[in-house]
């Protein structure tokens, strides 16, 4: 079987037994990237030489019998919002087009320590704001199942590269569904851990109280393997939890007995595509056949999730993105042009006798900020900065931000009550399969509603996993989402693995992987 179709856990076994080398493996994936990424555009940068050099080094150490890390020799793709020391980290933005952080994100340090081969940085919506990866400042990633469609977002590149057989493992981030939604739309497995499970240090922040880094891979087992490396307490992140990391890669194989699976009434309402609903209901039957009991629960405030999210996330984003002002790093406008433009504006106002307006013009420093940010940020990022700035501005705090924090509590309380009755909640990831590129770009609100089923987990801070549970008549993957109580990653992975033992949706490949 082609290396590209193998599970990461199997590849690791082949590496350990010496049947393949990391160089061979890395070369195979790099070759797939070379062949197909010009059309998929999952990667923003691929570092062939460095990846091969690293693979060779690991091979050498392995041959010499030296100890090697947990992921030794396995290629891993990195979403381009994780800081990599000395290497460009753009966050999908012109603002950071040339930014080279002098530090590694904690998860990057962990991957390096585990001897993973970092093969490249994947495309994403600018600053992780979006659900289609169309908001990248650099390129639009295509869905490997249908190149005319979006891969989802914001971790679109991260999901697409796994689906397209360009990387066995991939690291993304999830603020409102950004791992689970593209995993669902690309037919791969993606897990958003409980808030605090994985260090955020070095993750370029979008919304700090919602952001969480997580793994994407082909199977639950592979996802477990990667999570085991990513998770853990970090003294550099005050919000990371000091709790031992379970042996996910071992426990994932233990089936759950007497699983109580909850279905949410509100998930099966208006707007849910028929094919998606059918696939999800079929998936539930699979669980029933595996011995699970099904129970209907209510997440009464779930319908307010998107509204709550689109207050909290923009507020935090407006603040997190204030640092991009063209002073210490990032894009700065051409100062000569800016000064000239200011002078021209002044002159034209003055000659028109509009003195007051001329006096009210920005001073050069303020104009430098405004112009640099106007040039560095794309439309969606600006929209969210504006929304957040507005919502936090004098007189609106209580009506928007404080209100949203209270509804956030209600959403969390709904989950707590539900998890008193069930072990996990199952449901769709998205209302529909992947839509066409360009379909929603002019309608921000409809794009926001794509997050309907995923945002609540971020607001509540709980974990969720998405994996394929069927295909549409058009041949597009349909995802199933499981959500669990805080720090129930083991349970999520076990349940996903049970399903994948009983089904083979996760082993389907788009044509480009089938015919290398």
């Amino acid at each position: 079987m082609s290396l590209l179709r193998q599970r990461a856990t199997d590849l690791l076994a082949l590496l350990h037994s010496g049947q393949i080398t990391s160089v061979e493996l890395t070369r195979a994936f790099l070759n797939q990237i070379k062949l197909h990424d010009p059309r998929v555009k999952a990667f923003l940068r691929v570092d062939h030489e460095r990846a091969l050099a690293r693979a060779a080094d690991i091979d050498k150490r392995r041959r010499e019998g030296k100890s090697v890390g947990r992921l030794a020799g396995l290629p891993v793709a990195i979403k381009d919002l994780l800081c990599t020391e000395g290497e460009t980290t753009t966050c999908g933005s012109r603002m950071l087009e040339y930014f080279k952080p002098p530090y590694d994100a904690t998860v990057i340090a962990k991957l390096k320590a585990a001897d993973a081969v970092l093969i490249g940085k994947t495309n994403m919506d600018e600053f992780a704001m979006g659900g289609s990866t169309e908001n990248s400042a650099f390129q639009k990633t295509a869905n490997p199942w249908d190149l005319s469609r979006i891969p989802g977002g914001s971790s679109g590149g991260a999901a697409a590269c796994v689906a397209a057989g360009m990387a066995p493992l991939s690291v993304g981030s999830d603020t409102g569904g950004s791992i689970r939604q593209p995993a669902g739309l690309c037919g791969v497995t993606g897990l958003k851990p409980t808030y605090g499970r994985v260090s955020r240090f070095g993750l370029v922040a979008f919304a700090s109280s919602l952001d969480q880094i997580g793994p994407l891979a082909r199977t639950a087992e592979d996802t477990a393997l990667l999570l085991e490396v990513l998770a853990g307490h970090d003294p550099l992140d005050s919000t990371s939890i000091d709790m031992p990391v379970p042996n996910y890669s071992q426990t994932v194989k233990q089936p759950l007995a007497n699983l109580r699976l909850g279905l949410v009434r509100e998930h099966f309402g208006e707007g849910l595509d028929g094919e998606v609903e059918t696939a999800v209901r079929e998936a539930v039957k699979v669980y029933e056949a595996l011995g699970a009991t099904i129970k209907w629960v209510s997440l009464e405030h779930g319908k307010f999730g998107v509204a709550t999210y689109y207050i909290i996330a923009p507020c935090e984003a407006s603040s997190n993105l204030a640092r991009y002002d063209g002073v210490h790093y990032g894009h700065r406008t051409d100062e000569k042009k800016m000064i000239a433009a200011l002078a021209a504006e002044r002159q034209s106002l003055e000659s028109a006798g509009r003195r007051a307006e001329a006096d009210a013009l920005d001073n050069p420093l303020v104009r430098m900020y405004r112009q640099s940010r106007a040039e560095g940020f794309g439309a969606e990022v600006k929209r969210r900065i504006m929304l957040g700035t507005y919502a936090l501005s004098a007189g609106y705090y209580d009506a928007y931000y404080l209100k949203a924090l209270k509804v956030r509590r209600l959403i969390r309380m709904d989950y707590d009550a539900a998890f008193d009755e069930v072990d996990l909640i199952a449901g769709p990831v998205t209302t529909t399969t992947a839509f066409k590129l360009g379909e929603k770009v002019d309608d921000p609100l409809s794009m926001y509603l794509v997050d309907l089923y995923t945002v609540s987990a971020n607001l509540a801070g709980i974990g969720g996993i998405a994996f394929p549970c069927g295909f549409s008549s058009a041949g597009l993957p349909i995802g199933l989402q499981l959500q669990g109580p805080p720090f129930a990653e083991e349970r999520l992975l076990q349940a996903a693995h049970m399903f994948q033992q009983a089904t083979d949706w996760h082993l389907r490949f788009p044509e480009m992987v089938s015919n290398p």
Partner: protein, 96 residues
Amino acid sequence: MSLTREQVEKVSLLARLKLTSDELDLMTAQMGQIVAYVETLAQLDTEAVEPMAHALDVSNVFAEDRLRPSLDRKAALANAPHSDGEFYLVPAVLGE
């Protein structure tokens, strides 16, 4: 509550974004739509609800007061759009 163009323009200064006249129009319309949507929260009675600023119930996270090496200046300034090798440079901050 609908947003006016003037409000949006004020917010754009607060947010340090320079928007063209067309962008201001579009932003006013789109923000108005989104704000109207998020205002659906107003229908919920949250009087007695404790706000939830953090997803975690964790407190008292501290680091010890132990020195760690700083970046050398070259590395610190490496990403600066404009510096003289010693300082970050910005258009004159006057009248302060």
